[in-house]
Symmetry: C2
Subunit: 202 residues, 2 copies
Amino acid sequence: MVAPTRARQARSIETRARLLAAARAVIAEAGIEGAAVDAIAERAGRTSGSLYGQFGSKAGLVVALLDESLDVVAERMLVDIEAATDLDGRLAALWRNFVAPPPTAQDWLRVEHEVWLWATRPGNDEVRARLAERYRARFAALGEALAGWAAEGLIDPAAPVDRLAALVVSTLLGLEMADRLEPGGMDEPTVVAALAALLGRR
Amino acid sequence: MVAPTRARQARSIETRARLLAAARAVIAEAGIEGAAVDAIAERAGRTSGSLYGQFGSKAGLVVALLDESLDVVAERMLVDIEAATDLDGRLAALWRNFVAPPPTAQDWLRVEHEVWLWATRPGNDEVRARLAERYRARFAALGEALAGWAAEGLIDPAAPVDRLAALVVSTLLGLEMADRLEPGGMDEPTVVAALAALLGRR
DNA sequence: GTCTATAGATTGATAGAC
DNA sequence: GTCTATCAATCTATAGAC
């Protein structure tokens, strides 16, 4: 029989997706250590048993979440960057897409922040290595886009472009925290000006 | 009798200091949720009972740690800034003092990062408000120093100085994470150049 | 103010049925 | 692959002696 197997597979895939989405939401609220596996499973409409079947452990779930989150955030950044026409528009889009809208609960950047801090704790060395590796790849891609900006004559970077990309992402994470500490405390013009200065606006 | 009371007070003060130092170390290693009160008390050479006697709860301890940490970090920043003679020297000192030396375990900035993330979680609103208030005061002080730089003609800031201070501290926190993810990945010249660009070097 | 002892709740993870 | 049931470990916090 093939059909029942297919149906099983489909349900398994959906379970995985639901657990990842639930983990993102719960971790954004409570942090990684504060997110109980039962709470995650319950929000996903499953039980903790299925979580262990899918990911083996809580750490395994977090790593899977890390992989997914990194891809999504990186792709969104690139889309934002290429959609806008001028430098200010591009930088504003970058900022707005990740920090501004708390109603739709854009938990992506927040979760990335939690995972980053978690991965850099002593003892999580394998995870940190994996995360560092993935970030290198992301910085390279973002660096290419920035090289394009430089070719267009929009910016005049002082540092190598891939290092510049690391600088931009780090700054965004820091600014995201400042904005969360005091919502609205970081207004868009200030952020855009800061990023433009970092990139060496022409 | 007065002497025994004095001795009691002295021991109480020492207990408080030891618990705070132990909390800093354990939280830097394991995060806030991952730091067990027994582990903190044990490292301080006390028991969890004394912790509750001093701080009432684990959250109370973290808040006390937050207050102390904020003061120390802020004062160090100002000292660094005023010790150096030129702009690059000042910015390099800022960076070096907090991120570079992991042997002596400068856990301050790391703990501040953990606390910041913790305080901005939903449900910790009172703590977040307190932290935001304290940061406002710190940013004002750091802003004054930056205003001095501007008066000296070292920088030409695009944003108001207190907002600029928030920008600098946020960026430092972001860069600290990048450096921790890949130690040495953020070299000092790049960081100094980034901060100088942010401040509007003349 | 600090200790010992312990309560009471919650945690991550496993075993076995289906 | 998912569920039910459950274990052992760990956690925060409290009570009472000193």
